[in-house]
């Protein structure tokens, strides 16, 4: 038992963070929200070059995965910088394709996902898929199984403007059954993304309350402000081990627990961040909004809190009454 990231895992996260910190993601996000994908695609390529998507793709298809712990490390950083695009969906699609009994679709589609040449999106018994207008591989899971969707409908806006929701056209090639393992990967990476979003919100808000003065003092010296931020920190700190614990076991109950906890912690961080920023935080033009709205959207993406809690309660206990 050594429940700490290895030095290489930490270095991987640090290097992604460093790369993204200078990528001016707010501008990339604003472009993406308007349907201007050029800079987003360029950033996508760099994320792929760093090896992120290859972590989801088995070695047989030019990847090195699936490696859930490293995926969690990466998605914390992608969330911290609010990188736009069908990141979670590409990971889940990769796992799904690799799990198909017929290796044909995987051979055809996976290498381009690993290298970042193509993006994938995925609608799992749901009416919308993220970024269907830009994803080259559009997958839909229905009661029949996994389809390659022939096209997409018009974009419908999310509260997170960077999340462009598109209906997928029904029908299309039936690729096979859809094993549930991919769902766990979607939830795990969503949880990690949420944790990164929450950490960014906390950091930005701490910086703001140190800078902002009212009544002649920094508002960060007010005890009510301090305690609210302490609560945000507590929420994030206890979500983190659930995330990595889930990455190690990939048991559905563990993943569901991580998903609901990370997303609730991120949403609580968003509520506090908005309140402590005041009116400026309520504006779309202030960059904070890019994280605030993402925290809200991730909360219900890939399993809302009720669904996740149900999965925790429904899980069999390990030995007798012992759950964990």
């Amino acid at each position: 038992m050594r429940f700490l990231l290895d030095p290489e895992q930490r270095a991987f996260g640090d290097s992604l963070n460093a790369m993204l910190a200078v990528a001016d993601t707010p501008s990339v996000i604003r472009d993406w929200s308007r349907g201007e994908h050029a800079r987003g695609r360029a950033l996508w390529s760099r994320v792929a070059e760093a090896g992120v998507f290859a972590l989801a793709v088995p070695e047989a298809y030019e990847g090195m995965g699936p490696r859930p712990v490293e995926l969690a490390v990466a998605f914390i950083e992608l969330g911290r910088h609010a990188v736009p695009g069908p990141l979670v969906e590409t990971v889940a699609a990769a796992v799904l394709l690799a799990d198909l009994p017929d290796p044909g679709p995987a051979k055809r589609l996976l290498p381009a996902l690993a290298t970042g040449e193509a993006m994938a999106t995925l609608a799992w018994k749901a009416p919308y898929a993220l970024d269907g207008d830009v994803a080259g591989t559009r997958l839909a899971v229905t009661s029949q199984g996994l389809h390659l969707s022939p096209g997409h409908g018009p974009v419908r806006p999310s509260l997170d403007a960077a999340r462009r929701l598109t209906p997928l056209e029904p029908g299309g090639e039936l690729l096979g059954p859809a094993p549930a393992r991919a769902l766990a990967y979607a939830r795990l990476t969503t949880a990690a993304q949420a944790l990164g979003v929450g950490q960014a919100l906390l950091d930005k808000t701490v910086a703001h309350v140190l800078r902002r003065t009212q009544f002649g003092v920094s508002i960060g010296s007010f005890q009510a402000v301090k305690h609210r931020l302490a609560d945000v920190r507590i929420g994030l700190e206890f979500a983190r081990p659930l995330l990595f614990g889930a990455a190690l076991t990939m048991a559905p109950a563990d993943v569901a627990a991580a998903k609901v906890t990370a997303c609730e912690a991120a949403y609580a961080a968003a509520r506090t961040a908005l309140q402590l920023h005041g009116a400026i935080g309520y504006t779309a033009e202030y960059d904070l909004s890019l994280w605030l709205t993402k925290a809200r959207a991730l909360r219900t993406a890939w399993g809302d809190p009720d669904a996740c809690r149900a999965d925790v309660l429904g899980a069999p206990t390990l030995s007798g009454d012992r759950r964990w």
Binding site: S158, L159, D160, V217, Q275, G278, Y282, E285, D304, R309
Partner: protein, 379 residues
């Protein structure tokens, strides 16, 4: 102690209900936060005004019905229950008009109020400045005396409705040498289309331009648009701020209607048990707010003033409103993130509640210090 309304009040309510049933648009108007929607809402105000339903509690001389506070509450219940449109001139009606009634001249009232009642002139508020949020005494925009009036210069922000409104009102520093920061402020009205005014709309979280920044560069305002005495703006504004936090900013009718809407949504979604307590609490909270307001209105009718109690009201409705809309979005599941739904628009609107009209942190300080008698902190 009695909750029954008089026959005359019930008749008033019935008249309002009937009028609304006949007039409320079947399809919702386009969003207030678009140019098209703004115009549609302005037209709706004119329609209300034709039958004197736009400002029921004003004197008849200005377009009202001399309705008592109780009748105003009943009207609001009917208004929101009918699903009638949002009120584009709420800043004018609930913030500026009370100030004019208390501190304006007869000439100002006669000139300003009737076109406010009809929606011909829509008002924006111009309180905040970039460095003065909760700390309103630190305002820096200036009003400089010139022949026949004042020149306004500076910057205002978080001006709600200003993107499409006609005129605005706010405080300006007319005596920079005054010994204390909240002295030497003057309360003025000005034209948003006047020379020297630049309006920069600001999109809120969902991208809608609900607010704006105002840049003022030697904007001339004639003396007739000063409210009360120059230099007395702080005192005058505080009476408006008291009102803003008080009874008329959020009527119970709004939340009764929201709670019913939530209840229907819950039922439409198959009455999921996990949301049961939140839905029940929304219904209970709306009833509590209605009755709290009836009690406050009763005290008001007895001649009592509504003081720091309005801070209780502000914290309650603003946090109630968010909780209600969070429950709604949760009921919608993955669809809850769609931005182009009425629920989403109302949710985003609710998020501003704990921030504006005095942050809830300030309100809790007031409750602790002025209602509970705890020592003033250094804040």
């Amino acid at each position: 102690m009695d909750l029954a309304h008089s026959a005359a009040d019930e008749a008033f309510r019935a008249e309002a209900r009937a009028w609304l049933r006949a007039h409320v648009p079947v399809d919702p108007l386009p969003s207030l936060e678009t140019e098209e929607g703004f115009a549609a809402h302005r037209a709706w105000e004119a329609e209300l005004a034709v039958d004197r339903w736009s400002v029921v509690n004003w004197p008849a001389a200005y377009g009202g019905r001399d309705a008592t506070l109780v009748r105003w509450l009943l009207f609001e219940e009917e208004y929101y229950a009918a699903g009638a449109p949002g009120r584009v001139n709420q800043n004018g009606v609930s913030l500026l008009a009370p100030t004019l009634f208390d501190h304006g001249t007869e000439e100002q009232r006669a000139r300003v109020l009737p076109p406010m009642a009809t929606g011909e002139v829509v008002w924006a508020q111009a309180w905040s400045e970039p460095e003065a949020g909760s700390d309103l005494a630190s305002l820096r925009s200036r009003a400089t005396r010139v022949a026949g009036g004042w020149l306004l210069s500076g910057q205002k922000t978080w001006s709600s409705r200003a993107a499409f409104a006609d005129r605005a009102f706010g405080l300006f520093r007319s005596d920079p040498g005054a010994p204390k920061p909240h002295q030497g402020l003057t309360y003025l009205m000005f034209d948003l289309r006047a020379s020297g005014v630049t309006v920069r709309p600001i999109a809120r979280l969902d991208g809608r331009p609900a607010i704006a920044e105002l840049f003022l560069d030697e904007v001339f305002v004639p003396d007739e648009d000063v409210i009360g005495e120059p230099g007395q703006g702080w005192r005058i504004a505080m009476s408006t701020a008291g009102n803003e936090r008080g009874l008329m900013l959020r009527s119970p009718g709004r939340f009764l209607a929201s709670a019913d809407r939530l209840h229907r949504l819950w039922q439409d979604r198959g009455s999921p048990e996990s949301a049961r307590n939140s839905v029940a609490d929304a219904l209970i909270g709306a009833r509590a707010y209605q009755l709290f307001t009836f009690a406050a209105a009763s005290r008001f009718l007895d001649g009592e003033s509504i003081g720091p109690e309005s801070s209780l009201n502000k914290v309650f409705w603003s946090e109630y409103d968010i909780a209600l809309h969070e429950t709604a979005l949760d009921l919608l599941g993955a669809e809850g993130e769609l931005a182009d739904t009425e629920w989403a628009e109302r949710y985003v609107f609710s998020l501003a509640g704990p921030i504006y009209a005095g942050t809830n942190e300030i309100q809790r300080d007031i409750i602790a210090e002025r209602l509970l008698g705890l020592p003033k902190g250094r804040r």
